[in-house]
């Protein structure tokens, strides 16, 4: 994988930068919560096929430690509280009902996997699928459920794209990999319904001063010519300190198409540090739609590799922040082959003292001629105390490409607001109308109208915190 090498070369000095950091942190790590959590998992869970993967990942995490503000990629997002505070890895045991999730699940039909505090809930899930579609917890595939093709797919693809050598939180997630949501669509199968994967955290029995940690994992394999929509929801019930550390790997084979939604509705004391890793083959099309409505601190990495000619990758995102919420999106679009297109549109709505960060890196490899890459980041500030850092990074090594990027920060148009009010619309409704108008560019392309309406309702509800 030459292009992966290239990623490292593009960031020389990164490891040197934090050499001293590793030393000071390693002392703390011997006693850190993640060590206790890992040892508990290892002793509770003898030999599993995942044991080696976990062990390697854990060692790698101990080498890297939690990133600090000195890391270029973490310059604007302080995750020190995660190493300073203490967390217990969730291991199921909590019972919830579907009523508890009322209004939080999109009203779309299709198979659904629900994980509660890290454990798969067969009771809440409905995994009936059509021919050629597997929707299953990873544990049952590894236990011999599913067919040989499923096991082959897991073996071939699990932990092959999420780069735990370079990303500390991927290593941490993988160190705690016990179960996962596994979705496979067979060749040329077009799935009409949406596959829904839900990760819920809820109140658990915890020692005082401990937070609850979950490390959700998703593997989606779309074989050539297949079509699939996956909705990934992260939902928080109850309260208290939480750490949600999801990793998704999505493999889109030749001429396949995956629409991937991520809907984040976690509690206001949740640290959400997640990443999505996408491997695209020739003529494939991948669309990521991220909707970030909850959480205290949100970090989202989305890294598609366009590793075949004729790929299309679309990354869209919308976040609504109030109070002191923080949302950081880091994307790396890797154009490794010629004739590929990528489109990126991220929009932020910020109120209170919230802060948004967008870092959009686009790499166009030397061979990736005729690349089209467009990036746009637009932000609407609803308060004078909210702020945004937007950082496009284009690294272009080919000479026949079209790339563009733009970032804007604006306020509510007071003339438009006045116009609406002179037509009898009260100020709050008029403001909502204008904020919705700002966000509609992200919602409009959502083809499933029920899902679009659901997302719009979430948007309108989340605007309450911006008042």
């Amino acid at each position: 994988m030459v292009f992966r090498e290239g990623v490292r070369e593009a960031e020389p000095g990164r490891k040197e930068n934090n050499g001293t950091q590793d030393m000071t942190q390693s002392v703390q790590q011997e006693t850190g919560w993640h060590v206790r959590n890992f040892e508990a998992l290892a002793s509770a869970n003898g030999v599993t096929p995942l044991r080696d993967i976990r062990q390697g990942a854990f060692e790698r995490f101990r080498e890297m430690g939690f990133p600090t503000l000195k890391h270029e990629d973490w310059k604007y997002t302080n995750v020190a509280p995660l190493s300073r505070r203490s967390f217990v890895r969730a291991s199921g045991g909590a019972t919830i009902t579907l009523e508890d999730l009322d209004g939080l699940l999109p009203p779309v039909s299709g198979p659904r996997l629900i994980f509660v505090n890290g454990a798969f809930s067969g009771e809440l899930s409905s995994a009936d699928t059509v021919d050629g579609l597997t929707v299953s917890p990873l544990s049952s595939v590894l236990d011999g459920g599913g067919d040989g093709a499923d096991r082959d797919a897991v073996e071939k693809h699990l932990s092959k794209y999420a780069n735990l050598d370079e990303k500390a939180f991927v290593a941490l997630n993988t160190a705690f990999l016990e179960d996962a949501a596994f979705v496979r669509v067979a060749r040329n199968v077009s799935v009409e319904e949406s596959v829904h994967i839900v990760f819920v955290t809820t109140d658990a029995d915890l020692p005082a001063d401990e937070g609850l940690a979950v490390h959700p994992r998703v593997l989606v394999v779309a074989e050539s010519g297949s079509e699939l929509t996956v909705i990934e929801s992260h939902i928080g019930l109850g309260g208290g300190l939480r750490f949600s550390n999801p990793v998704s790997e999505v493999v889109v084979m030749e001429n396949a198409r995956v629409d991937h939604f991520k809907v984040q509705l976690e509690t206001d004391e949740t640290y959400h540090v997640g990443s999505i890793h996408v491997e695209q083959a020739r003529d494939s099309r991948y669309t990521s739609n991220s909707f970030m409505f909850g959480g205290l601190l949100i970090r989202n990495d989305i890294d598609p590799v366009l590793d075949g000619e004729g790929c299309e990758s679309n990354l869209n995102g919308l976040f609504v922040l109030g109070d002191s919420q923080h949302c950081d999106t880091h994307t790396i679009i890797d154009h490794a082959k010629p004739h590929c297109n990528s489109n990126e549109l991220y929009k932020g709505i910020l109120a209170g003292k919230s802060r948004g960060v967008f870092s959009g890196r686009i790499i166009v490899r030397k061979d990736a001629q005729k690349t089209n890459a467009f990036q746009s980041n637009k932000n609407l500030l609803l308060s004078g105390d909210a702020s945004v850092d937007s950082k496009p990074q284009l690294e272009i090594y080919a000479d026949d490409v079209k790339c563009s990027h733009g970032a804007t920060v604006g306020q509510i148009d007071t003339k438009a607001l006045f116009y609406l009010r002179t037509r009898g619309i009260d100020e709050v409704s008029a403001r909502t109308m204008l904020v919705r108008a700002f966000a509609i560019e992200i919602l409009d392309p959502v083809r499933n109208r029920e899902l679009a309406t659901f997302l719009e309702d979430l948007l309108i509800r989340s605007l309450e915190k911006t008042r």
Partner: protein, 252 residues
């Protein structure tokens, strides 16, 4: 219906209106004419509640209630509609959605049932015919990509749907070609009833050939310097604003 009493208003420290008195009764059409900078548009903005303008003296009563104390949306619900000189483009807000929200908001304030989507569409189509508008206009975002004439017609269309008791038109005729002007005039004439009134602010006399006013006022330097019947507009067109100025000078 509308009583303006000795209004003084301006922006920041600059006084623009220097004592305006005006009374409009139901069924009447009043026209205010004046040169640029005479304060016509300031008067319109004061009536619809634009915050940039500060009223330093005087009062405005609408149906006996203190208009200046009301928020812009309350004025709209009370029955005042402002057709803007420069209607704002609002990207992302669909025309139908906007107008239905506005209408239902006003209906709700009057204790009337809100119209459902079907009832609204039936009503809207009728009003569109009245103003010779294309239905595609409604499915587009409010005023986005509209020509100047389309924007003005859209204002009159909104007025037709919201059915105010007092329609204020701020230079609706400026920049309109004769066909668009006639369409606007036909619209206003069809809306005209015994229980509503219009205040037409204009720079030119041309519109008044098609909408015949009951009273014409001439504004100059923040004051109404002359009021009369419809013939005043014709005289003004023939002799120019300087004529008023000179006749005033002679009077002093």
């Amino acid at each position: 219906m509308l009583e303006i009493k000795n209004i003084h208003a301006g922006i920041e420290e600059t006084e623009i209106l220097k004592g305006i008195d005006l009374e409009i009764r139901p069924g009447e059409i009043h026209a205010i004419m004046g040169t640029n900078g005479s304060g016509k548009s300031t008067l319109a903005n004061v009536l619809c509640g634009r915050e940039d303008y500060e009223v330093t003296q005087g009062e405005v009563l609408f149906d006996g209630k203190d208009l200046l104390d009301m928020a812009p949306e309350e004025r709209a619900c009370a029955g005042i509609f402002m057709a803007f000189q420069y209607p704002v483009e609002i990207p992302g807000v669909n025309g139908t959605y906007f107008l239905k929200t506005a209408l239902n908001s006003i209906r709700k304030s009057k204790g009337l049932e809100e119209l459902d989507a079907m009832e609204f569409l039936t009503m809207v189509k009728e009003k569109m015919k009245l103003l010779d508008l294309e239905e595609s206009m409604l499915s587009r975002p409010v005023n986005v990509g509209f020509s100047g004439g389309e924007k003005k017609r859209n204002e009159i269309f909104q007025m037709a749907v919201l059915d105010p008791r007092l329609g204020v038109m701020d230079e609706t005729d400026s920049g309109l070609d004769i066909d668009a002007l006639k369409t606007v005039a036909v619209g206003v004439n069809k809306l005209r009833r015994k229980d509503n009134a219009f205040l037409i602010i204009t720079h030119y006399q041309r519109l008044l050939n098609y909408i015949v006013p009951d009273v014409v006022h001439v504004m100059m330097d923040g004051r109404i310097v002359r009021s009369g019947g419809k013939e005043l507009a014709l005289e003004l067109e023939a002799k120019g604003y300087n004529w008023v100025k000179e006749s005033l000078g002679a009077g002093v």
